[in-house]
Symmetry: C2
Subunit: 444 residues, 2 copies
């Protein structure tokens, strides 16, 4: 068992009372935090002592919804309303392969680590590849095999999709950091019958989360209303799919009744602020959901929608949306943003007994924020600094399960130059097709 003692750290524990250790130490044994506190660090025989130089040490951040492989489509079709049908689906049908998923997911894992994200919930295709990438990168992940009716790249029928889910669950059974998940794409693209089958699968596989896009778009709302006389949340609830192990992404177009249903179900919500905003779709009622007792985490969405894989880029937007909706500075104080990015995100993923805060007995998933940049100073409140001034490039060290994934901004588990070269080699094959789509669009 390796022991490590971090010293001279400004520790933001994000525990229940938001304890801060201003000159703190933290003792890690193996993969677990065994003790932490203020003042003189304990003498631990044979421990590695790492001086944090007064920098901030906080829980690793949790990205509650992503499609990591889509980094290879980053920034495509911005400013185009029918981007889904014009760019995304045609490109996915043509190019998504195990190799593409591996290359894109690895690029995203690299970026996630460099931005301080230690846990991520992903849903995409060939998801076993995603699990292997997250395993190798040393991150923690919920990997969800997508099920959908729209000619998905890796399954031509729901039966074939369920077979992929079973394979995924077998592959990562008992893995310490990678958890398999079943991911029906959305209510409208799977339908009540398949959602019921997913709910049954979920009952048969306790501990494996469900992931679904929910109440994200207006056509989805219209579909539920016209076909079932219900909200899309209502249709999903009736299918038995809203349960504590469910991660519902977006929950943007919801009313008070929907919030009550979501709260009652114990579902966790992934708030994709920038993605919703970039789509011109609106501002999710996050404060209302949280007041109703729903755990809401922060999410980047896929990099074709949200562009980047760090939560810092979300923080400002998460905060601003809440303040504009509440017409006041008070909603979503900076402390709450950091809670959402850590312990509340962990709760959404069903991992809050293991991660999300720095407490004795929890896994050692933590990050160090360098305070070297002049633009961070003066610091009157560390949460304000993190939410409104810090950037992913301020993250200097990252640890998951007691293992360093990054030290002094050098990623230890991946080779950045090779990761980028591999990703660009795959993406370069898309360019002819993309140019054709661009040209067709410009002709109209």
């Amino acid at each position: 068992m390796t022991d490590t003692v971090l010293t001279n750290a400004w520790i933001l524990t994000v525990d229940e009372t938001m304890t801060i250790h201003a000159r703190g130490w933290l003792h890690i044994s193996g993969d677990t935090i065994v003790a932490l506190g203020d003042g003189a660090p304990p003498q631990v025989p044979n421990a590695e002592i790492v001086d944090m130089s007064g920098d901030i040490v906080m829980p690793g951040m949790v990205n509650t919804h992503c499609h990591m492989a889509m980094s290879l489509f980053r920034g495509l079709g911005e400013d185009v309303d029918d981007r889904l049908f014009r760019y995304m689906l045609p490109l996915e049908r043509k190019f998504v392969s195990p190799e593409m998923v591996r290359a894109g997911t690895t690029l995203s894992a690299l970026e996630s680590i460099m931005g301080g994200v230690t846990s991520i919930a992903d849903m995409y295709y060939f998801e076993t590849e995603v699990g292997h990438v997250i395993d190798r990168a040393g991150m923690r992940g919920i990997v969800g095999q997508t099920l959908a009716d729209f000619d998905a790249p890796d399954h031509k029928s729901f039966d074939a999709g369920f077979a992929l889910v079973d394979e995924l669950a077998d592959t990562f059974a008992d893995h310490a950091r990678v958890t398999a998940s079943i991911a029906p794409h959305a209510p409208y693209s799977t339908g009540p019958a398949i959602m019921e089958r997913v709910a049954q699968w979920s009952d048969d596989h306790p501990g494996l989360p469900v992931q679904i896009h929910l109440a994200e778009t207006e056509p989805e709302i219209a579909w539920a209303r016209e076909k079932y006389g219900l909200s899309t949340v209502g249709v999903t609830a009736r299918s038995g799919l809203l349960k504590p192990s469910t991660i519902a992404a977006h929950c943007l177009l919801i009313d008070d009744d929907d919030i009550a249903i979501l709260a009652q179900s114990g579902v966790g919500v992934a708030h994709n602020a920038r993605s919703n905003g970039k789509g011109g779709r609106g501002m999710a009622r996050v404060e209302d959901m949280r007041k109703a007792g729903i755990a809401v985490g922060i999410a980047t969405d896929g990099p074709m929608s949200g562009n980047t894989l760090d939560l810092f880029a979300q923080f400002g937007v998460v905060s601003i949306f809440a303040k504009i909706l509440g017409h006041s500075r008070k909603p979503m104080p900076t402390k709450d943003v950091i809670r959402m990015a850590t312990i509340e995100g962990a709760k959404v993923l069903g991992l809050d007994d293991r991660i999300g805060s720095l407490e004795a007995g929890k896994k050692a998933d933590l990050i160090r924020i360098s305070l070297a940049a002049p633009r961070l100073h003066p610091i009157y409140d560390p949460y304000s600094m993190l939410v409104f001034a810090a950037m992913p490039t301020d993250v200097c060290d990252v640890m998951v399960d007691g293992n360093w994934l990054m030290r002094d901004r050098q990623v230890l588990t991946l080779e950045p130059q090779k990761v980028l070269a591999d990703a660009l080699a795959v993406a370069d094959k898309f360019r002819t097709e993309i140019a054709a789509i661009d040209a067709a669009r410009q002709k109209e």
Copy 2:
């Protein structure tokens, strides 16, 4: 006359047709761009050749509204609705001095340069100090002496304020990069009579801009309506203060009639997206103003309101606000965001004949964006990459008037460690007072 030729650059000129030179070169002689193009660079005798390694070269960015010295109050009173009266005014009355202004403005100049901002419009107190800091930092700036009726830190009467403005104008007469400006705080805090006097001063000093906060808060709207039966834009227009040399910050709470008045006047608008959002105040109608022909630039506001001094942090919010207001992905395409950050911002400052685009005859104000970070790739559209993925830390080189202010992220005109130490030495004196304000607030 020094000649420099930049080679192997991905040049975004931001000229009228948004010309891009994919393998471009750019020839600078003295402070001026003399030629640029694609392909083989010209042979210029004795020129320094600088290889840009395929990185992006674009116009330096323009921050159209700021209170630079307030970096020393960065992040204070977040989430507090009466922050202005509880924190800002008491702290300003007690602590604003020439030394404080010098230290805070220098910290902000450092951050601005490191974030790719080459021109800035500032309004604050002891503004002659601000001009000297901008001069020494090598930046370009509009420096506005604030006039206000609320016991300002550097003048106890409007007459004294006008004397400071005159002194400022004398000090920077004929300066190549620093332009004096008169800055009535806001319509409600100066009143029509003083606004008329400012308009007269402005007529007497052609080329020196007026800066004013306009239509930012609800009490301001109520003041104008109750006292004059007009909108605040209407009151200001009637005072003669809306003219092409006026920079109107915010223009948030405006209606169609106000937009028509603003457009007719030729005023430029500084859009403070994050500051407005953080205040819970709303989303300015930027697309409507631009469609009416009003030049709108991007602005950070002071770091107590907006926290950071780079425009990258604004880009996502500027874009998202427009898309949410338009309920579509189409409004505010990424190209337009970059235009606002450069040539349109330059127009707001009255400098578009000199800066804001890379064209022969313009001043050599430019920045280089490193493409080294994996998170920026793949790049299908450089504007999308700049708006939604790039960060201030990607800016590696900065030039103003043909002089390098930063190379390889080393600022050449300021000493970062000393700048930070000086700023913290001043800010540390505020902490007792801040703790008292915090404590009083928590008792309530």
